[in-house]
């Protein structure tokens, strides 16, 4: 209940300018030369102090990428991206690899403060229940600038660090798992990412360990004309558990910026990974100028028996979203879940959904997708559920609901269902509804303003999914949704 009130208050506070993270930070940056070439890849690899095998991996990816074509099957349209007009590496000039917070450029610290991301452990500890602590890895353009609670996590045997550091410190672990879920050759954007990825998080939870706190990575694109190519790798060893949160924002700019991430999750026997995203990249203005192009490959591999991977996403930002967090249900009895809220307003285009690939016996999956389209936006759910011929007893339940606000937006549902095993049971439900004028009138008759009424109805619509998010994020997400829909009524 308080959250609803907060949503309403938040909506009131927001003026014409809806995107409140659109500020820019003045920091002197060191960049790779503009454009993409073998030299640029060598430059990135060199900056990161990578071993030879990593450089070779990148170069192989680059060669492969040169032969690939940008996919065009999604229901999105955008001007051609000039891949040679992008900076692939940008790091703060002063001390790009700080050892402690004292070495981090104060301007960057201020940025995270403004974004409300706590980087000082002692401040996080003050007045917070020990169970509610969140460890943060903060990625600023191409580098991680701070990672909190590393020492405490290490005591539990948990490795949580920037991936560039992990490549140097745990090369065997990284080498064993990197690219094992999303192969280098997977798709145009994943291959590009493999060639030029700069930073992201690495997580390893040892057997039998329940990660003592939530882990999170906060991505910030700041520099102009710079792409962000994050790479995240999470391994939950046998019988372990981890909950991981991801957040992202970017300054307002008239030009589009590219974000092409790859996230790989691996859950071994009896392990569970919960991965939650609150995506709030700059969506562009009302006329569709600017905004982030978000082309992301996220995939989890339920490699072990009885393993569980849950994706929860709240998507409110980006000019274009192309994103299908998926689960490969390889281990017998493994389970994959996908809970999504995708909000689009203005001229945003969203093509998002999931893939549940049932390979093992008695594997189950569940998909709950809520799309909310307002303004002149287009919102597509695209999902694949498939059962391999050995996937005896596979079960899926899918529920896709779309809510339209106004009459200039579009909602589309594109489900693909493939079953090669006669015992598989797949269920699919889909609805499309509009906030009716009668509902609005009813709420207003009880004293709610148009905005309050919309916030309330939308909150009700997305409730099943919000409940999946960790508490703090659920409140945050609820606010975000309202902000994104600000001005969509009337």
């Amino acid at each position: 209940m308080p959250a609803v009130q907060e949503t309403i208050d938040q909506v009131r506070l927001i003026d014409v300018d809806q995107y409140k993270y659109g500020f820019e930070t003045e920091v002197e940056m060191e960049k790779a030369p503009k454009g993409l070439s073998e030299d640029v890849i060598r430059f990135i690899s060199g900056k990161k102090g990578e071993p030879e095998w990593m450089l070779q991996w990148r170069l192989d990816a680059y060669k492969r990428w040169l032969t690939m074509k940008e996919p065009n099957w999604a229901r999105v349209s955008y001007d051609k991206i000039d891949y040679n007009d992008i900076y692939y590496y940008a790091a703060p000039k002063k001390n790009p690899a700080p050892k402690s917070l004292d070495e981090v450029d104060p301007e960057i610290l201020k940025t995270y403060e403004k974004l409300g991301i706590p980087l000082r452990e002692q401040e996080i500890l003050a007045g917070v229940e020990p169970t509610n602590r969140v460890a943060v890895d903060a990625v600023f353009d191409s580098v991680s600038v701070a990672t909190t609670f590393k020492a405490e996590l290490a005591k539990a045997g948990v490795i949580f660090m920037p991936i560039s550091e992990a490549i140097r410190e745990y090369p065997d672990l990284v080498r064993q798992y990197l690219g094992s879920v999303v192969p280098v050759t997977d798709n145009f954007f994943a291959t590009l990412n493999s060639a030029v990825f700069t930073d992201g998080s690495f997580v390893y939870i040892p057997p039998g360990v329940r990660c003592p706190m939530e882990l999170s990575t906060y991505f910030r694109i700041n520099e102009k004309n710079t792409g962000q190519f994050e790479r995240t790798l999470i391994i939950a060893d046998k019988g372990s558990y981890v909950s991981y949160l991801e957040g992202c924002t970017a300054p307002k700019r008239d030009e589009n910026q590219l974000h092409a991430a790859v996230v790989e999750l691996i859950a071994l026997d009896d392990a569970e990974i919960k991965y939650s995203t609150v995506q709030n990249w700059y969506p562009g203005d009302a006329e569709g100028r600017g905004g982030i192009y978000n082309f992301v490959t996220k995939r989890g591999d339920c490699r072990g028996r009885n393993s569980v991977i849950t994706w929860t996403q709240v998507e409110t930002g980006s000019a274009i979203t192309w994103k299908y967090p998926s689960c490969i249900l390889r281990g017998d009895n493994s389970r994959g879940e996908f809970y999504s809220i995708a909000v689009s307003n203005g001229k945003q285009q969203v093509d998002s959904g999931t893939k549940m690939i049932h390979l093992g016996k008695n594997t189950t999956s569940r998909i709950i997708s809520k799309g909310i389209a307002a303004g002149k936006s287009e919102n597509t759910y695209r999902g694949l559920v498939s059962a391999h011929r050995k996937a005896t007893g596979a079960r899926n339940f899918t529920n896709c609901d779309s809510l339209l606000i106004g009459n200039q937006c579009g909602a589309h549902t594109v489900p693909y269902i493939e079953s090669k095993n006669a015992s598989a049971v797949f269920e699919h439900e889909a609805t499309t509804s509009k906030i009716s004028e009668d509902q609005m009138f009813y709420c207003q008759q009880r004293g709610l303003s148009e905005e309050e009424a919309t916030a309330l109805i939308v909150n009700g619509f997305v409730k099943d999914v919000l409940q999946q998010l960790p508490m703090e994020f659920a409140v945050e997400a609820q606010k975000l949704i309202s902000i994104s829909l600000e001005g969509s009524v009337g």
Binding site: C443, G447, S449, F461
Partner: protein, 250 residues
Amino acid sequence: MLEIKNLVVQIEDKRILNGLNLTVNKGEVAAIMGPNGSGKSTLSYVIAGKEDYEILDGEILLDGQNLLEMEPDQRASAGVFLAFQYPLEIPGVASMTFLKAALNAQRKARGEEELTTPDFIKRVNAAAQQLEIPKDMLKRALNVGFSGGEKKRMEILQMALLQPSFCILDETDSGLDIDALRIVSEGVNALRSPDRAFLVITHYQRLLNHIVPDTVHVMHAGRIVKSGGKELALELEANGYADYRETEAA
């Protein structure tokens, strides 16, 4: 309290209200009766401020304030409450959540303090008990899967909680069995007070046995064609609306 002068309303070029005049005083329970299509529901929607209606002439004053210049939510905060004939469903929003949002929105609009959660819960529980609304119904999404009787009781619960000064009951008796009718009527009667007026819109005398009106108005073809005391309702029950149709034709 409420004063309607020469109200002329149309929807999609069809004239529905045709120079309607009506006054309801403080503390009064006024019943409006009339055949289908006489404009009763339109009148309730126009007072509450539903869009779609074109107001061609006339005015509606509530305690001297011109309602026609106000948004529906402003009218609500000024004291207008409409118990809907067909209450709307709000999926995913618990009734309790809805009640609190509505109550606090009105309090805020009037510049009053918001209620604390314990205070709010106390008030809801007291009102719910009187209307025989079980607590788990308050946790369910508003009106979703509610029976006809439950929906109407929820309307009266909202009325009890929001404490409006001018209440419109639009065919509240439709779809109610005898027991539900009794509970709803008792709920309404408990809210009768010298400071509050009611406009009870109904087809049938039945409801008026439970909610006894001070005045009865007969509506026909978008106008009040006859007014009287509660005995007028009995007369109508006996003779039907045929007389008025003939009056119109003559």
